[in-house]
């Protein structure tokens, strides 16, 4: 593997250098942009849009574009495309789609940027840091006994406090994550985590929190809080976790 990387890295660098050098050469013979094409040949125009422009990883984005007076149209990373079209893409990282339309009358370009949020997780935006800190200090996770979604008596008080905090902060939407310990099987634990999160949501709704403010995700044993194989750690992982939505 290392040996392969040692070969791969120089090769990749070399390809990169060649690509850069190649671009320069190509640019040179192009007519300067200010040179007006003959009056009979209109310059191409291009428009590119992405919907939506902000997604979570794995979601789809629809690119749509329109060009006029172009003979060839290409989008970086996609290749040649029709002069007018729609395409669904699934970027996993923030991507700027760059369209170039070439015609006899010149070249036109258009770009559209898609921002990709990391997969659903506990995301704390920096501009609400203090609200997030307050949330963390006021809203506490609850814990479960093994292989059950029953709300324990000791969790009831926590849930009541969480519900009253949410009642006094009606703008906050929350995500409840359902978590399980490492024992047992992935698929079953996801179903169990869903039931833990749903049971927790139901308890909040019963306490007066609007159901529309609560999003529920089961993480099963996919995102453990600790990874030791003992009861203390397993208890940490059998929980419903609260976080601010978005």
């Amino acid at each position: 593997m290392n040996a392969r990387n040692r070969i791969l890295v120089p090769v990749v660098l070399l390809c990169g250098l060649m690509a850069v050098a190649g671009c320069k050469k190509k640019e040179a013979p192009l007519p300067p942009a200010t040179v007006a094409p003959p009056a009979t040949i209109p310059a191409p125009s291009a428009m590119l849009s992405a919907t939506p422009t902000v997604i979570s990883a794995g979601d789809q984005v629809q690119l749509s574009w329109r060009t006029t007076d172009a003979t060839s149209v290409s989008i970086d990373g996609i290749g040649d495309v029709p002069t007018v079209g729609v395409k669904t893409v699934t970027p996993t990282v923030a991507t700027t789609y760059h369209l170039v339309a070439r015609g006899e009358g010149g070249t036109a370009e258009a770009s559209a940027t898609v921002t990709v949020n990391s997969p659903p997780a506990i995301v704390v935006p920096s501009n609400t840091m203090s609200a997030a800190e307050e949330f963390k200090a006021s809203v506490h996770d609850i814990f479960f006994d093994y292989d059950t979604d029953a709300i324990r008596p000791d969790a009831q008080a926590t849930l009541s406090a969480n519900a009253s905090y949410l009642a006094s902060h009606p703008d906050i939407k929350i995500v409840i994550g359902g978590y399980c310990d490492e024992r047992g099987s992935d698929e079953y634990n996801l179903a169990l985590g869903q039931r833990r999160a749903d049971a927790t949501k139901n308890a909040l709704v019963t306490a007066g929190v609007a159901a529309t403010r609560v999003r529920v995700i089961s993480y099963g044993k996919e995102k453990p809080f600790c990874s030791e194989s003992n009861e203390a750690c397993w208890q940490q992982n059998r929980r419903a976790g609260f976080s601010i939505d978005q």
């Binding site: 059950t148 698929e187 089961s218």
Partner: protein
């Protein structure tokens, strides 16, 4: 042969590794899978190289090793180790001296042999199978192959020839050398769906979703891959077209909450899965295109991991936690006639054998707080309600999936916090580790 020898570079190890005796069922084994019956002693001669193409030696080495491996993996042969076989490389029936091979120490009842050439970027293989005891009419098989000169195609030709031999000598059950295994790997940093050949070769990534994707289930015609992915609103059952090389719609698989563990009916017309959309985790069934999802169960508690009886498509097995720890149940496809299969412990991940007679599943018979127990693969005969344990005292074993020959099972084994994919014969013998890089889990064996 019950050793846990990791499958290192397959082609090299196999030359030395298969010298052990016949695969014999042990006392505690009765699977009804025709394992442990009399095995046929077979030799695979190194093929005779023809011509002088520079690619020939390397590609022939791949071919010879793959064919030898495939026959060993089949589970129905006692393969003559290369060290006991004659040095001869007969390239045609006229060059074949059967007595050389039937004599001790090779003592082969059958011998596979032939010629291997590379011409103008193509591999040309002629392969024969001879019955050494039949002096009048020894030829059992004669096959010719012509494919592009690549490692991949050298392996593919060997797989095809092996499958011909296995089908001919294995009681009409087709070989599995051309099958694939789909699985989850985190080796790129996120859990994505991957595929590999049945012997662990040719591992390659299928999805690039950057989230967590699990539970791959290949369609019976190998055209589509159903799986479950974590998104903004929870888990969705999603569909990837291997023909188109991209995601395709599966509208019934998204409804918020947890939509998990898809399962194809063997006619490819329906997908069963688990969904929490009704407020509880239940078994649902949708058309193969994701339309018309409807609920089958109404049972409080987690209900997941459905699998169809592939023989009838009228029954499902699944996991239900209605009585606390999960147990295996069967039911008719309308949710009626529910029957509990396991009596205790923690039983999950059923896989229904292609014959319809057996369930493989993962069982921790002494699950509970303070009781580490052991999670092992069991095979359960539905008609008799008898079960047998097929993995023993080695890691935590889960997600068994039957091969189409009903002789092999692929499964995941966790040791410490590392999980890898293994195959074995359905009696637990001949265990081989197929993956090494990252963590690899939830294997699913293709239908053909």
């Amino acid at each position: 042969m019950k050793g846990l020898r990791p499958l290192l570079p397959l082609l090299v190890v196999s030359l030395a590794g298969f010298s052990a005796g016949p695969v014999v069922a042990q006392d505690w084994v009765h699977t009804g899978t025709n394992l442990g019956n009399q095995t046929i002693r077979i030799a695979a001669a190194d093929f005779k190289p023809l011509g002088y193409d520079a690619q020939t030696p390397a590609l022939k080495a791949v071919f010879d090793a793959t064919l030898y491996n495939d026959l060993g993996n089949a589970g129905i042969f006692d393969v003559v180790s290369k060290s006991l076989a004659p040095q001869a490389m007969p390239g045609s029936p006229t060059e074949m001296v059967a007595s050389q091979w039937s004599a001790a120490p090779s003592s082969a009842a059958m011998v596979a042999f032939g010629a291997f050439a590379v011409n103008g970027g193509r591999i040309a293989v002629s392969g024969w199978l001879f019955d050494t005891s039949n002096t009048v009419n020894p030829q059992v098989l004669g096959k010719q192959y012509n494919e592009a000169a690549t490692d991949d195609m050298a392996r593919t030709i060997a797989h095809r020839f092996a499958d011909e031999i296995i089908s001919r000598l294995g009681g009409g059950v087709n070989g599995i050398a051309e099958t694939k295994i789909y699985f989850v790997s985190n080796r790129t940093g996120s859990k994505e769906i991957w595929a590999m050949d049945y012997d662990g070769q040719n591992q390659h990534q299928i999805t690039h979703l950057g989230s967590i994707s699990i539970s791959p289930r290949i369609s019976p015609d190998s055209s589509r891959l159903a799986f479950s992915t974590l998104g903004h609103d929870g888990w969705s059952v999603r569909m990837y077209s291997l023909e188109l090389g991209r995601m395709v719609g599966f509208p019934g698989g998204s409804a918020g909450g947890s939509n998990l563990s898809p399962a194809w009916s063997s006619d490819g017309s329906k997908v069963a899965f688990s969904s929490s959309r009704s407020g509880d985790s239940e078994i649902w069934v949708a058309d193969a295109n994701g339309n018309g999802p409807h609920r089958v169960t109404s049972i409080t508690g987690p209900n997941v991991s459905p699998v169809w009886n592939p023989r009838t498509n009228s029954q499902l097995a699944f996991v239900s936690g209605r009585t606390s720890e999960p147990q295996i149940y069967t039911m008719d496809q309308d949710g009626s006639n529910m029957q509990r299969m396991t009596d205790s412990g923690y039983a999950v991940s059923p896989s229904w054998s292609p014959s319809g007679a057996l369930l493989a599943f993962s069982w921790n018979r002494k699950y509970g707080p303070g009781d580490p127990g052991g999670q092992d693969i069991y095979v359960f005969e539905i008609a008799s309600m008898h079960w047998l344990q097929v993995t023993h005292e080695s890691g935590s074993n889960d997600f068994p999936s039957w091969a189409p020959d009903t002789r092999h099972i692929v499964f995941q084994r966790s040791i410490g916090h590392r999980t890898q994919i293994w195959t074995m014969l359905a009696d637990g013998t001949h265990q081989k580790q197929l993956t090494q890089a990252g963590d690899n889990s939830m294997p699913n064996w293709s239908w053909k």
